[in-house]
């Protein structure tokens, strides 16, 4: 499992990049959902999101999930390509599959990479 060390992670398996303000779902989350076939970003550029607010809805062949904001702030960008290529969430969750970017990104309760890896390992067992 891939867990980049520059990112922050939530208990509901989202990541947040403090440097760029981007957020998305983790490698662990995409593997649990398996083949993702649909994604809808629920916020628009210019909206203000709060921590824990639903920013996207994801559906795989067998499951569906709401994705929550890992950090609060004003939405500066929305990844418009993602809805055309939902499979990117499986192949490149930390890269091409970023969902939104926020400005000022104030996080709530987050973990660093080491703590998140431990958290995932506990759930796998």
């Amino acid at each position: 499992m891939n867990t980049p060390s520059n990112l922050k992670y939530t208990k509901s398996d989202e990541w947040f990049d403090p440097a760029s303000g981007a957020m998305g779902i983790t490698d662990y989350a995409q593997s649990q959902l398996s083949d993702i076939v649909f994604v809808e970003i629920l916020v628009d550029e210019g909206d203000t999101v709060e921590v824990g607010k639903a920013i996207a809805s994801v559906e795989s062949v067998k499951a569906s999930a709401e994705i929550y904001a890992a950090a609060a702030g004003k939405v500066t960008a929305v990844n418009k390509d993602l809805s055309q290529k939902p499979e990117t969430l499986n192949s490149d969750p930390y890269g091409a599959a970023w969902m939104i970017k926020v400005e000022g990104g104030k996080t709530g309760e987050v973990m660093d990479a080491a703590a998140y890896e431990k958290y995932c390992a506990e759930r796998t067992n």
């Binding site: 076939v37 629920l42 067998k62 569906s64 709401e66």
Partner: protein, 451 residues
Amino acid sequence: MTYIPISPKERDAMLATIGVKTLDDLFKDVPARHRFPKLDLPPALTEMEAAAELADIAASNENVRGDLISFLGAGMYNHYIPSVVDHVLRRGEFYTAYTPYQPEISQGTLQAIFEYQSLMAALTGMEVSNASHYDGATAAAEAVNMAWAQFRGKRKKVVISPTVHPQYRAVIRTYTQGMELELAGDDPNADLGSGPEALMSLIDDNTMLLIVQYPDFFGRIYDYTKLIAGAHGKGALVCVVANPTALALFKTPGEMDADIVVGDGQPLGIPMWYGGPSLGFFTTKKSYVHKMAGRLVGETVDSRGQRAYVLTLTAREQHIKRERATSNICTNQGLLALASAVYMSLLGKSGMRQVAELCYHKAHYAAEQLSKIKGMELCFREPFFHEFALCLDRPAKDVNAHLLEHGILGGYDLGQDYPSLKNNLLIAVTEMNTKEEIDSLVEVLSEVDHG
């Protein structure tokens, strides 16, 4: 009579395996004071008795294939259903199967629904169809749900033409009573002669959906292209409630750029059955498929490289998405979707067109003859399909009562829904009505005039 194939001896052996003495011992969790109520129901009938009783009940109705000549439509139509349709439906393999959750052993149902979806898309001129809803009215209500989901509740207004079927409008009101939604245009006192473009004034930046009917409730055919473009200009979606028989003849809602087409599939090989069950078809553009409620069958391959079909995008549905689902719908109208697929396959390109033309010619003959009677005229001047509103010089109720005395089921009394049309009848004519029947309608109504 019961259908339990277990002998008393077998029952006792089974009870012994379970480890209890009597059947009653299996129900100890049920509160004793309410256990085993005595039901006040009539004693059981044998099959012979039940067949006779049901035949008596059915015979006490006056049906439209022998007892009465019918000119009643208003959402349900008396069409010919070729024998093949019911022979296919009577296959136990189709009617005693469940929803096709196990695709390896349900390809019959799955391929039939896939074909239904394809036929429905072709008929309406749209890109995708779901596997069907309960009826036309609930399909129209699901269009509202879809638009709500599409705009994620950010737009809150639905504009609905007053010439959409009154019962469909009623169902939409029921379905949306828990949503904070504005229904505009749903007014039976509106000017019914002003044409569809009048609705444009109601459509604004808060409008999520416009609903119109084609042909409208009075049978009129409008080209909605301009109206739809106008609604799109405001960012709203447009749903057209369509009669499927008419679509075999007239420009499709797809050609007019409608976003959603719904309607009742009863004219496609389903008996009237005193109002149900029929099916509600629902077709749309491919880009909206994730927001559409209802079952959906998609093509794939199996592990042996064979073309096959599965229920797809199921994560949209209630059993996975639960309270976040667009709708709570579980089933489709499987067997009736099959009936419609068989009907459309059998009639095909030429038969479907032939039925539509027969309806058109006969309805126009009836309209022409009826409007010659003194005191009667057509209410509207627009082109119509197989239904038209006839203005009378006396209450429609009295005219219908007179017709019934002569074995004729008259039209639908429009005054029930539209105060301004209280002396108006909605007359429907299908391929089932012969010239003689139409002539006798004209004759009996002429007598009304004279008497």
